[in-house]
Symmetry: C2
Subunit: 362 residues, 2 copies
C-alpha cells in the first residue's frame, strides 16, 4: 500500500529544513537515529520518507510518507503516528493529510452521514436547523421546557450544550428521558420530527450505560466530543449506537492540527455523521477559508466514505442565516444556541424566526 | 466546595482584557450570554468567576474560578471545563490549575507512585534507569534480544517505544509474552529485577484484552499515552491494572495546556505512577524551568495523592546523566533510548555505562 501523506508546517530556516524534515520523519516513525537501524526491511518499510519540502507561510511545508502499517488501523495509534511526539514540538503543525485509497476501510466512517440525517429528520431540499439546551446547572424541568419550545418552533435538531454531561444537577439517566419525552410530546402535537442529541461523556462503562438509556428512551441522535472521550472511545461508541453521531470540537485544540484535518477528515473517517465547528466571525477566530475547508473535507467525495453534515456554530445569530446559507449551501445544518436564548421571553418567536429564515419563508 | 482555580494566559490588549476574561468565564461554564440566564442558582453556582487578572508574558494571566460540580468528577468533563471550547481559541493557553482540597479524591491518583516503583524494582537511594525497545517494525525476536541485552546490563525499566503498539510486525499478544520471557530469563541469570512496560493502546475492548495478556504473562508495569487513548480511558485502564502505569506525553502537546499542568498535575491526579517528559536540550524545545516545574508537580506534597516518578527523556545521552541527576535528584528515572541504540554493536557496553553513571559507580 502507498504511504499516508501527512503535511507539516515547520518553522525553521532554509539552511536547516532538510535536516529538520528528516528528523521529523524519524520522530514520527522509528523515533531513533536512522543510522543505527540495521534491519533493511525496517529502513524500507517503516521509516517515514520525506516526500517534499516547499516554502510555506512562516516556514516550510514538509510532506512525509508514513507507512500505513505503522498505524495499526486503529485510532489511537493513527493519532500517534500523525501527531504523537511532534505535538510536543511547538514549531510543528499538522496541516494536511491524504490517505491512500483503501486505507479508509480500516475505519468505520459515517454510518448515516448527511443523507441519513436528512432521512431521520425528514428534511429535504434545504439546510437543517439546530440549537442547544443551555445553560448547564439548570433544572431538568427547565431543560425539558426549553426543548419543548424549540421543538414546537420546528427546529430540526436539539442538542445538549456540550457542557451538559452527567453532572449532579442533570444526570444523564434523569435528564435524557425527560427531554426526549418533552420532544416526543411536542412532535406529536406539531406533527414535527425534531431529534434530540444528548451529550455522551466519560469512560467506556459510562458510555455504554448512556447508550443503553438512550436506546430505551427512543433517542435518535448523539452528541460526542471525540477528543474529550478519546478518539478510540469515539470509534467504539459509534459502533454501539444505531443513531447518527454529531461530533463536537471541544478539546480538539485546532491550532496545531489544522481544523480541516481534525474536524473534517479525521472525525469523518472515525465515524462522525455531522461535525460542529466554530464559524468565522463568531466567538472564535477561525478564518472563512478554514471553515470552508472543514465543510469541504466533510462532504467531498471519498471512495465509499459517506459525506458528513457540516454544522457551523459558535456565536451565530439569525441575522447571519442568509450569509451562512450562501457560504455553505443547503447540505448544512446551522446551529444557533446562545443567539436564540438571548431573546429571553421572546424565545419562541426568535426560534420561529430562525426556522423561517432557514426555510426561506421569512 | 471552593472553586477550581484555572489560570489562562490570554493574548489581548489591556483595554479588552476584562471583557475577554468575562467572555472566557462564560465560555468555560454556561456557554451562553450570562445576561440571558434567569436562574439565580445557576448564576451563583455554575457561572465561572473571574478571580484575578494580572499582566503576564505576552498578555494577561486570568484566573477563573470553575465550579467543581460542573466537572462531574469525571476526566472527560474535567478536560471540557478546563479547556474544551477555549482549545479552539488560539489566543488562550491554560497555564496553571489549583484544585480545592478534597477535589482530588474524585480521581484515583497514583496507586503505586514513586515509592511503589522503588518497591517493584528494589532500587533504593539512587535514581532509576529506563530505556526503550526500538524501532517499531522490528521482528519480535529482535525486540526480545534487545530486552535481554538491556536487562543483563542492569537497566531498571525497559519500555516499548511508544510507537510499538499492536501492529502487524509485533502484535501485543505475541510480543509481550516473548519480551517478558526474555527479561525474566535475564533476571534469573543476573539476579536483577528489571521491569518491562509494554505499550497499551486502542479502545476499551483492546485495552482490556491487553491487560489480561499482561497479567497472564507476569508483566509488572504498563506504558500508556493518556491523550492517545483518551483521559477517561486512561483512568479506566489504571483501575483494571494492578501494576504501576507510566504515562507517555504523545499527543499531549496538541492542545495548548502547559506541560506542568498536563503531564504533571493532571496525569498524576488521573492515576499515573510515572510521567515521561521531553527534557530540555534534547529533541524538544522545552525550557529547563518548564521541565523542573513538571517534576515539581509530579512529586510535590498534595494531600493524600502519592508522588509520581518524573522521567526526563527525549534525546538524552549518557554524557548528560550527571547534569540530569543534579537537576532532578534521586527520585527520578532517567530514560535514554536512541542514545544507547546509537552505539550499535557496542550496545551492551553503552548500556552498562548508563547504569554505572546513574549508580555513581562509573
Amino acid at each position: 500500500m502507498e504511504r499516508i501523506r501527512a503535511t507539516y508546517r515547520i518553522a525553521a530556516p532554509q539552511a536547516q529544513i532538510r535536516a529538520r524534515a528528516e528528523a521529523l520523519a524519524a520522530e514520527q516513525s522509528v523515533e531513533m537515529p536512522v543510522a543505527a537501524i540495521g534491519d533493511e526491511r525496517v529502513l524500507r518499510e517503516t521509516v517515514a520518507t520525506v516526500e517534499s519540502i516547499r516554502p510555506g507561510a512562516g516556514g516550510f511545508d514538509v510532506t512525509l510518507g508514513l507507512a500505513p502499517a505503522t498505524t495499526g488501523a486503529e485510532a489511537s495509534q493513527l493519532a500517534n503516528m500523525l501527531f504523537g511526539n511532534c505535538s510536543l514540538q511547538p514549531e510543528v503543525e499538522l496541516i494536511g493529510v491524504e490517505f491512500p485509497a483503501g486505507y479508509e476501510q480500516a475505519f468505520p466512517g459515517p454510518r448515516f452521514g448527511l443523507e441519513g440525517i436528512r432521512e431521520a429528520t425528514g428534511v429535504r431540499g434545504r439546510a437543517l436547523t439546530c440549537t442547544a439546551l443551555k445553560p448547564q446547572g439548570s433544572t431538568i424541568g427547565h431543560l425539558a421546557k426549553l426543548a419543548r419550545t424549540f421543538a414546537l418552533a420546528g427546529i430540526d435538531v436539539i442538542k445538549d450544550d456540550h457542557g451538559i454531561a452527567d453532572q449532579a444537577p442533570h444526570p444523564f439517566a434523569e435528564r435524557v428521558p425527560a427531554v426526549q419525552a418533552a420532544i416526543d410530546a411536542a412532535n406529536r402535537e406539531s406533527g414535527g420530527r425534531t431529534l434530540y442529541a444528548p451529550t455522551f461523556s466519560g469512560a467506556s462503562a459510562a458510555l455504554a450505560a448512556q447508550a443503553k438509556i438512550a436506546r430505551e428512551h427512543g433517542v435518535r441522535m448523539a452528541l460526542v466530543a471525540p477528543m474529550l472521550v478519546g478518539l478510540p472511545a469515539f470509534v467504539e461508541l459509534r459502533a454501539a449506537l444505531d443513531v447518527p453521531v454529531m461530533a463536537h470540537p471541544a478539546f480538539a485544540g485546532a491550532v496545531r492540527i489544522a481544523a480541516p484535518v481534525m474536524l473534517g477528515t479525521l472525525f469523518r473517517m472515525l465515524g462522525a455523521d455531522a461535525t460542529i465547528f466554530p464559524n468565522h466571525g463568531g466567538r472564535f477566530s477561525f478564518s472563512r477559508e478554514n471553515c470552508l475547508a472543514i465543510a469541504h473535507n466533510a462532504r467531498a467525495p471519498w471512495n465509499g466514505v459517506k459525506p458528513m453534515l457540516p454544522v457551523p456554530a459558535g456565536g451565530m445569530t439569525v441575522e447571519r442565516v442568509a450569509e451562512m446559507l450562501s457560504d455553505y449551501g443547503p447540505d448544512t445544518m446551522l446551529l444557533i444556541g446562545g443567539g436564540l436564548l438571548s431573546a429571553k421571553e421572546r424565545l419562541p418567536e426568535r426560534s420561529r424566526e430562525f426556522v423561517r429564515a432557514v426555510r426561506g419563508t421569512a
